[in-house]
Symmetry: C2
């Protein structure tokens, strides 16, 4: 049995894009699980853009970070869990977790690959699924534009739209990712937002306008989408990564053309994945089916070891990842 | 019978705030009504902020302007209408109208004062009613903030919220209007947006946050409201008058804090009054009841004569009106 645990803590509140010195790894002792408890060894942990917001609004310097992880039960004093069970748990950024079972959930390693429970089968997948189909009210055959389309959420959004007989336009930050959107994920049109004009590209890719803009980014892409929305269009707002690292005095401007929503009856709707908890069973069934039929493709970028978790997280903001960004903390 | 008609035409597309020279009055001959037609003499015409948008997007130089008016039938060759009937018609900006009956509707001059069919009983009233209760999903007892609150739409919004047991906060552009909001319209809190800080005022007037922000203005008031929305808050977007007169190179910036909507599940929803056509019967019943019980107060600013219609319209953008801005074209 292991006797020590390593956890990443916030050392200082990041200003702008986080730097390695904003974080530190602390080592603590690890007890055996008491009555009713289990000991979980984490295998994969997730790093996600939403964590940047928590570093401003929830976590204070000194706090341990947390997030989703997939781990294996290696000791148990709880009849509900057996050694060898794989569980989704909230102890990301940590190698081990002692748990009384609250907030953990068994996952089936036979159904789909284990790591996908942090990606297409997990929070990012449900975010894309619910954001498009529930908040975005996407109907079969409609047209969606998704920004940050090669990311863990965006690639799911575009592929679901295609599976539902619709049209998908995506943007990404490099020509390689743009090529991947078309060739691997089957988007109808894609462009590099760093070099192309978004409105020109939207007119090219969706000549009849957009029914849904799945918003991950903010800035000029939101402005272009507002101009190009169809009447009664919907803009589910999942994130605005362009704004996450704003500093005092260097604020990314908001869209100047919000008036576009009035005469077009367009809505912008903020949401967080927790809204879709009631949709989870339908989601897991649909998504595992699409993964196993080959209709749903996904990519992962995997960093190794808790020493590299901070680099993985910071990499999210420079576009270093291709698909879901994960950190492997131990072997399956 | 009159033999000539005067109509206001657009002479040039306004740049920024319209000026008198952007318009001209043209005089044309007036025939007697043919078979199936009626001749209407207009009594009141409406000028409204939405017309500024039409001068950019619909009307070209030379076009006759139009809008809602209340008139009296003075000659008829149509069995559906009698001389002496009062009708709502789309021939505002014009002294007379020959009509075959399409697009006109009888109004009851005994039920409420005639001019209110262009105000609280008409388009602005239905805009406030539907925008608050339908698009804004306002529930009894909730808290609403409405900008441009002393206007024809805004004053209806605040009063309905109060009638429904809720709390109303309003902003206006002068201390006189602010006093009127409190003393006459019964708002719980009001402030002068030209001299007070909106966020400070919202915190004062609605310590527990806003369920609904009824958006008429845009700019810093939208930004303040976004910071102060409660979870699941709704922002029906009726107008953004601060942006209507934007010129190329002098665009009013958008809100820098749209990310606020994500974690609070807030929605912004554009709408136009036409969406509430199905709600009109219920609206007319509710509103006439509130007018006659004295629960619904209203003010009108009346200019006299078609020669002054342009001044009335331009006055909307400098806040010259107190309540609904009307032009009287003839006696009742």
């Amino acid at each position: 049995m292991p006797t020590t645990n390593r956890t990443v803590h916030l050392k200082s509140t990041p200003r702008g894009i986080p730097v390695p010195d904003d974080f530190e790894i602390r080592t603590t002792g690890l007890e055996d699980p008491a009555d009713g408890q289990v000991l979980i060894r984490n295998i994969y942990m997730s790093v996600d853009p939403y964590m940047r917001g928590r570093m401003r609004e929830a976590w204070r310097p000194g706090d341990a970070l947390s997030g989703n992880a997939i781990g294996k039960i290696i000791a148990t004093n709880n009849d509900d869990y057996a050694v060898g069970d794989y569980v989704l748990n909230p102890a990301g950024w940590s190698e081990y977790l002692i748990s009384d079972g609250r907030g953990i959930r068994n996952v089936d390693p036979e159904l789909v690959p284990l790591s996908t429970y942090l990606g297409v089968m997990g929070m990012p997948g449900l975010t894309g699924y619910g954001g498009l189909l529930v908040t975005g009210e996407f109907k079969d055959g409609e047209t969606v534009f998704v920004s940050a389309a090669s990311g863990a959420v965006g690639s799911v959004v575009g592929q679901i739209a295609r599976i539902k007989g619709g049209r998908a336009i995506g943007s990404a930050g490099s020509d390689e990712k743009v090529a991947q959107l078309i060739e691997e994920f089957g988007f109808d049109h894609a462009f590099n937002y760093r070099t192309a004009d978004p409105l020109t590209e939207l007119r090219k890719g969706a000549p009849e306008g957009l029914d849904v803009y799945f918003e991950n980014v903010g800035g000029p892409q939101l402005e272009a989408a507002l101009f190009h929305m169809r009447p009664y269009g919907r803009i589910p707002v999942c994130g605005m990564i362009a704004h996450y690292n704003d500093k005092v005095g260097a604020i990314t401007p908001g869209p100047t053309n919000l008036t576009q929503i009035i005469y077009k009856f367009v809505s912008l709707r903020g949401f967080v994945v927790s809204a879709f908890e009631p949709d989870r069973p339908r989601f897991l069934q649909d998504m595992s089916g699409w993964i196993n039929s080959g209709e749903m493709k996904y990519h992962e970028t995997v960093f190794d070891g808790i020493e590299n978790a901070v680099d993985a997280f910071i990499g999210l903001f420079s576009g270093n990842n291709n698909g879901k960004m994960l950190v492997r903390l131990s072997d399956e």
